[in-house]
Structures are given as C-alpha cells and as structure tokens.
Subunit: 117 residues, 2 copies
C-alpha cells in the first residue's frame, strides 16, 4: 500500500531504454548507503511480493536475489521512488556484508575526494 | 587525495555508453539520501575542483551546478566510488531543499511499499 492507500503499479515508473531502473540500497539500521544495482519491472514486483531484494544482473542477464548464494540477504523495510520516478530507494535489513568483497558497503574504503580536510 | 595518498583520476571510472555515471547524493548531517543524478567525467572534475556538486543534465544536455538557480547548493564533504567503479556516492552539506518540489529529499513522500507494517 502506498501513502494514499492504493496499490502501487510498478509499470508507472520510468525505466530506461534497457527496461531498467537504478535502486539505491540503504541500511535501515544506520542510514549507510550499501550499494546501487538495477531492477527491471519484474525484479521490483518480486522484491515487493517476497520482501527480499531481487535485482536484474546486467552482466549475467538474469534475476539475482541478493543473498541466495552468499547468505547476505536484504530484507525490505521500505521502498520509495523519486520525484521523476526514475530511481528507487530501498531501505533494508542487511544480513552480513552487502559487498561481494566482504565490506559492509560497496563504497567502503573507496574515497575519491574529501573526508580528510 | 585518495586514501592511499595519490590523486584520483576520474577517467578510471566506468562511465556508461552515454559517458555518464550515477551519483547518489547523501546529506552528511543525517544520512538521508537526497537524490540521484548523473555526471560525466567533466562534471565530476568540476565537482572535485569547486567543492560544489555539478551534474550533467540528460534532458537539457548541459552542465547543471546544483543551486546556481535555486540557491539550494550542495557543498561536497566526501566523494567515493563503489567496488565496480560505476556509481558515485557524494556526501554533501545541503542548503535548503534538494528536490525541485521543495521537499528536502526527492524521495520524500513517495513510498511504494513497506514502512507502514
């Protein structure tokens, strides 16, 4: 149910020319941004239905339910879209590490600029 | 300067087929995700050099330094890339609202699912 009480239709989102939309994954526990990955309409429908985050892997061209292999599942707490309906923000309970490198976040330890001023 | 003390070269990032990379903008004050927009290599170079966030507008096909029109500037505090170098995370001091609608975040009030359980 959305804020106005009606069912949200994923087809109303703006997917790109490849049928994909970026999803920002944020740790509900502390607000840390964990990763960004891509969904098609069906991946979003599965994510809503199952309460676990499923992406579309652009490199492997297949659905990828986070944690099925690694155990590092993402349980959905809240999904929002942005003002122009072309980006998703998903707050999750993250089990273990979000990054395949073992880091909690895919952005950990990869600073380009700032933060040391 | 990056974490290992060398200058970061934006050309080492993975830009998409349009020469763009998504940038997640996060409020350094409270961790709120404010928006996602796109940069090309030059927009990132300007952002690093000026300490203010500049995007590439896909719709207008021009550089867009956030806040030049609205006053809602974004001052860079830290920039990181992710593990596969195709997404940026930028922590900012946000002046006023990040969203053109006047909301603090582009995701405010646009819940699709969850959050009301």
């Amino acid at each position: 149910m959305t804020e106005n009480g009606t069912e949200f239709d994923p087809a109303t989102l703006k997917f790109n020319s490849d049928g994909l939309i970026p999803a920002i994954i944020q740790d509900v526990a502390n607000g840390q941004v964990l990763m960004l990955a891509w969904m098609n309409e069906e991946a979003l429908r599965r994510t809503i239905r199952e309460g676990r985050v499923t992406f579309w892997s652009r490199s492997r061209q297949e659905y990828w339910r986070k944690g099925d292999t690694s155990g590092h599942k993402q349980f959905v707490r809240e999904i929002s879209h942005d003002c122009d309906s072309d980006t998703l923000l998903i707050q999750v309970e993250q089990v273990g590490a979000a990054c395949h490198t073992g880091e909690r976040s895919c952005f950990d330890g990869r600073r380009i600029a700032g933060g040391d001023a």
